[in-house]
Symmetry: D2
Subunit: 472 residues, 4 copies
């Protein structure tokens, strides 16, 4: 059996930091010890480097159709970009099709993902609900999908009413599933969009102005309250407001089984970016807020109020009419220009799956806001525990998959669209100087990234069935 | 002109307590001074007594049809009971009828109220909303009705969706109106009631168990958030939960224009009362909660988090098959027994319009939880300011209506159904010993209550048109 | 008897705003009514003006020796300045002399104040404590002094240890007195000053850097805790930090009998002002903090967390070597220049007794942060209640002293040292544009200020004996 | 080299729970893996058992002279009791002697501890402070003692003034040391004790009544504020009040480098226990409070507000006149009876070093309040990190000392004085039924406890020099 021995590194887990050696045999971690030796293993000297579990991004949207186009990374290009950023597992959302069954919906997504380059799992969007759908939910558990995402916004499209969300929580409780929540107030948004369009407002900033932050706070408290009544866990995706953090904290302090995720974009950017001429680059839902919201989200990470950092990776071209070169081929996919004259037609979404870990390391760890252990918890271990992948993923334990990042804490990178592998024509962190970057990335024991080199390939990623997770 | 000179009393307002004389001329207060004299006035010696503005109960339901019966106090019997308890103005809710106009709806209520014995005003229930209704709202202001009550519960009956509530807030903002909120989560209630009935639960306690307290907290934050976006004031009626107080406080501390009301029943009783054999007596919506909720509501009064104490007076007989004597006549009105075998059929509501001020005085002022000034603010002045009656009502100022209570702080009353004038067969405060009770009550200068004697009469109460109020 | 009838004004009290007439007879308010007439009264038309109770400044230091000089306003010049700003009662602090008795200490201050131009009362500094002092405290009550000020800072000079403060609270409880607290941590200041001087730091900003804000927060909680144990009321003077507000709020929410005062300077200025070349102008104790502290103090006023706004008026010349003209005479008093080379030698204190009400009106009421009723409460009524002057002072009630301000809410003033009557050579609000200013000021029925004219005179102010106050 | 292979157990660390094997070689953990084998190791089958790091009790007082007696466990008997409860490292407090040096003080304690049965380290009490003492502090670091304990109570005995505490924090910052805080208000206690004795109060409950809980809250905020100014870490020992938790949380949320410890006794007992006839059994400092305090402390553990659970083990006999048998010999040591007629003479302290882990497991983990990972963090890992023992102690990592507990989560124990090895005549948890108990305990690779059998011996414990720790 293939063996790799990583020696002399500093092993960093969600709670421990220590000098040690780590032996990989085949696809798994076999041993953790000191002064390990092995008769045949390839030895990697990790002196001065950090050994961390491969990142888990619990929130991606690859190859997702939206507004007459499609998100510009598919399950290969997006996976590859993820890997360069240190992520070895991604969790994508399956679309619930009208008149379909979950089995057929998932099959469609499984086929899209046959080109997978890293390991992956799925969440199921629950955007229609009736007794037949309810009866079909347990079939998801058998398929290894133990999460249901619900929306309190996007009326007439994705939103469920409160009764359906509450029933879904009841079912989730019964079957060991976790409900994930997109928290905004759809009704208020409808009225404000209608008013804005009637008043002739078309600029990107109106995307944010028509989605007031109060909606996030109340929807979190609303569904958290239902979760408390149903005694079912809840996970709030892409938290972007101070008020939302306040309510998550309030709910958790009152013993509600609620957890939260934020994304890097919400830590750095504000509504002011949407006012720029190229403001469409920052259009995603929920939108950017204010510097005070950024600060409160950082506080939430410092104080463990929030449990994970995902990306909501759903990239579009800023200018989809001008091709870029990707693996040597010109590629052009319609993008943000679709909404040039109507903010409601701008495809909603941003790149980020590669940026997540390096940006969070530089801004979080290097700047002293979070510890390396918190970094591992937020980017990997907590997601593994919450989503039922632990200890196979998210852990450096004997028996765990050998998904490992060797992180060079000294490496300096001038980041941006040229450096990134994400298949789009812009990057939110253009010209940011990063300190700390992955040097080597292993997927189940195979080296897939070494500095700038891509050693992985299409189809090597596996679908990972998930079991019930924990409430952190 | 008729003149009355009240001498030597202690005048208590929302912020002042002082020795002074007060001269009434006709229907109004003419002078406040010391050592006043008047050539012809009737002089009342109020030595040892407190002079306070007549109470304003912002929340009553007289003569309201519900569940094959009707609330057992009408606009005469209820007014008379109110007066005995020190209240001289009540505000009742007009039912919005299908296919009607606000003018017709209000006319119905005006006719019901022709028998009024004290002054009164109306709030308008907004339980259907469409463009025509929206267009009709400004007509209410002309009628002197500047308040709209909305419900986030009672699906299919009274509830508006969030979009309609938000539009109503927009309209209210434009026309100087105030939206009042019944805050519960209707959807969750629907599901729980359905489950409870399916499981064969019929007892009164299930009324509370199917209306979880989390719904109050979230609905308050939800609509408060909308109010903040709309920059329109909001008034939360009958607050009954600690979580609701938390959210009211949170919203106010963040500058949202939100105010709150509680009722005496929520300060004293808990879900344990609903578990009693006669638990139906305590059935109202929202329901009684726990001792911790009682305590938090008291804290809200102590710390001025809540602005008013109303009653939600909506009495029913406990045993509507057995007549009681009222003004010498036997009266029987179907009541709580309607729900003997199904908690959803128990008429929702309690007596309280008379009890409010004496009970709050004994439990609040005598026990040192609130000051006499807070008592006046909560039972009278704040409501006058919030609802646009000030300074005509709720104030002891020159020019104000001479609605005055001479309060005997030493009077001992053994309270209960025999003592009360409320037209029903039970009282929540049966056998409570009260200290402090109205001795004389004046309505626009006329003495209508003197100790146990009723000096008022049907039809002497006036409808008071209201203007825009203040945000406290 | 002399009578004045103020007609057609808008009367503003701590909780009411109404149109009314007000009759003064002799030194007192006789009547409040509408359409009042009087056979012989002088009639003042106050149309468009506000009638408010004369201001009470609970915190001044006139003619106070400090650091080889003396505060530059005495009990005449300071009173006169106060009157121009709308204040008709001031409360000054008596120095406790070594080896003296309270009677002798107070006598000294009574003699200093013989030139009083407005009414005044005294607080007693308690800066030494032993059994004899303890036994002497009740004599203060007989002298009409019901307040004791203690310091947790100024080691070896003004500070009492915690045991003495606790004993003082015990005595205060027994005799209906109120303890006032200067809250800083004296020990930490001592160490930091020693370190700063050793390091050669002499600039004004080191005054603030050596008095860390944490000391205010903890000292407030510390003594508030003692007050809770002793069940004795406490009043925290000149609150200047966000942390202090947090602790005041925490203590009040937990039922501790604690109240707080802030001063205008803490609402506007920050440590950055101390870094200016003329930074010594802003030197007072406790010092200016940050914009976040300013904001939290405003929040405390908006939300009634703090009860009063005083001034801590204790002016010094910025350049005491250059005379200014005062009532036509050149005056020069050594001032801030004494500390040109050593921040510890800069006299601690600022002018403010005149500025308080106009500045708070413009910045608080005109800008919508507080209501006119809150303005009256913070500048007058609350102090009267807390310090046992109510309802003689701080109220527009029959029988109250006719200390009245007729306030012109439209008056525009370009403020600054030229406009101010404070006897010093600078003003903190130089070139501020104020909207709203006193037009007429009455002291016990006598007009003492009319626009720019001074109609008062030395010696007309009375010493007011105080009784026990209330806990607000 | 001696080798032990623990197979098939569930390894529980501060953040991970996984199936794995663990190889001990000599005194250290050599390998963690799956399906491990070893040619010569003794194999232990841990199926169904939990493998956890040996407990660290950061707070003991063995062989401590107090009030004409001595704590009844010495460095052998106490260590042995600790080991039976799963604890393999203890940290005891060295007394600072008048006119001594730290070297001599530590030497005395090293000699007392020569009989050590488990590993141990020392904290230094800092109860006198002057320039010479200050200059002597760095010598402690060389001795491997990186912690200084200060007291804000015990005036004239153990207390330092605030200036000395602040200077100590400065020195600690400079030398990588940690200040530990006993937080009460000594002055208030002095006054209250004096009053209580004068009033003839002698019963045990007066011990609590003279030490009001407000003192803990304020002293925590006070010294936390100093720590923030000094940028030096602080660790609050034996937290016992809700207010203290509030202040710890407040300080941490504001970024102050403060941590906290509680002890099991504060989670279960209240002042009511002190009112019992045998109330002296519960006398320790700080004292027991109320059920609300218990609840808030549990909340602090649930929400990671507090970092460690120590014991403050300092046992005395309840009846020191009646010998008990210890290792077959009769032992009697004067105890609580010394204060039979004067609560101030009751020796302050309780047994607990053995009880800590089993009681916390049953009440915390089994009852669902905390997770097994939190249990490990609170009883072992966090103390190791905070006090500079990590990763040698408190961790199950390759290279760590093989201090290991094999925990039987199913074991039922009827607990109490008969079961306990603590050398005293009573137990606080008498007749408590515990679920979960240590089965085997290893100290540096040697089995020292197996169920009821003691396999350790005097002198086998080592003094562990500590380095600088972390702020958690």
């Amino acid at each position: 059996m293939n063996a790799i021995l990583i020696k002399h590194g500093t092993i960093v887990t969600a709670s421990e930091t220590f000098q040690g050696d780590l032996l990989i045999e085949g696809e798994r971690i076999a041993l953790i010890g000191q002064n390990l030796s092995h008769p045949s293993a390839e030895v990697i000297d990790a002196r001065g480097k950090l050994i961390m579990p491969g990142g888990i991004d619990p929130h991606t949207h690859f190859d997702l159709e939206m507004f007459d186009t499609v998100s510009s990374d598919d399950h290969y290009t997006g996976h590859k970009a993820a890997a360069f950023g240190g992520t070895t597992t991604v969790m994508d959302f399956v679309v619930q099709n009208p008149g379909s069954t979950f089995q057929r919906d998932v099959d469609i997504w499984r086929r899209k993902a046959e080109k997978a380059a890293i390991d992956y799992s799925f969440h199921m969007n629950l955007t229609r609900f009736d007794p037949q759908v309810a009866a079909d939910i347990p079939s998801l558990v058998e398929m290894g999908i133990t999460t249901l995402k619900v929306f309190t916004a996007y009326n007439g499209r994705l939103r469920l009413d409160d009764a359906s969300i509450f029933r879904a929580l009841r079912i989730a409780k019964e079957h060991g599933m976790l409900v994930m929540l997109h928290a905004e107030n759809g009704d208020v948004i409808e009225v404000l969009v209608e008013e804005a369009l009637a008043a002739g407002h078309t600029e990107p900033v109106w995307h944010a102005l028509t989605r007031p932050p109060q909606g996030a706070a109340e929807a979190i408290l609303r569904v958290a309250g239902m979760a408390a009544v149903a005694e079912a866990p809840l996970y709030v995706v892409h938290m972007n407001t101070a008020g939302g953090v306040d309510m998550l904290q309030y709910a958790r302090q009152h013993g509600y089984p609620v957890m939260g995720e934020t994304c890097p974009q919400y830590l750095f950017f504000t509504i002011e970016h949407l006012r720029r001429p190229d403001g469409a680059k920052w259009i995603c839902s929920p939108p950017m807020r204010t510097a005070a919201d950024n600060a409160r989200l950082w506080e939430a990470l410092e104080q463990n109020i929030i449990q994970t950092v995902g990306t909501d990776h759903c990239p579009f071209f800023y200018d989809g009419t001008t091709p870029i070169l990707y693996e040597g081929q010109p590629v052009a996919i319609p993008g943000k220009e679709l909404g040039a004259h109507d903010f409601t037609k701008i495809p909603n979404g941003l790149p980020g799956v590669q940026d997540r870990m390096p940006v969070l390391w530089t801004e979080g760890v290097v700047k002293g806001r979070i510890t390396p252990n918190q970094f591992v918890a937020y980017t990997s271990t907590n997601a593994a525990k919450i989503f039922g992948l632990y200890p196979r993923k998210g852990a450096l334990l004997p028996g765990s998959d050998a998904d490992i990042v060797i992180w060079d804490p000294e490496k300096q990178v001038e980041y941006g669209v040229k450096h990134s592998q994400q298949r789009t024509d812009y990057n939110l962190y253009e010209n940011w100087r990063l300190t700390g970057y992955p040097e080597k990335v292993f997927l189940r024991g195979r080296l897939i990234v070494e500095n700038e080199r891509w050693l992985g390939h299409r189809g090597m990623g596996q679908f990972i069935k998930r079991h019930a997770g924990e409430v952190l």
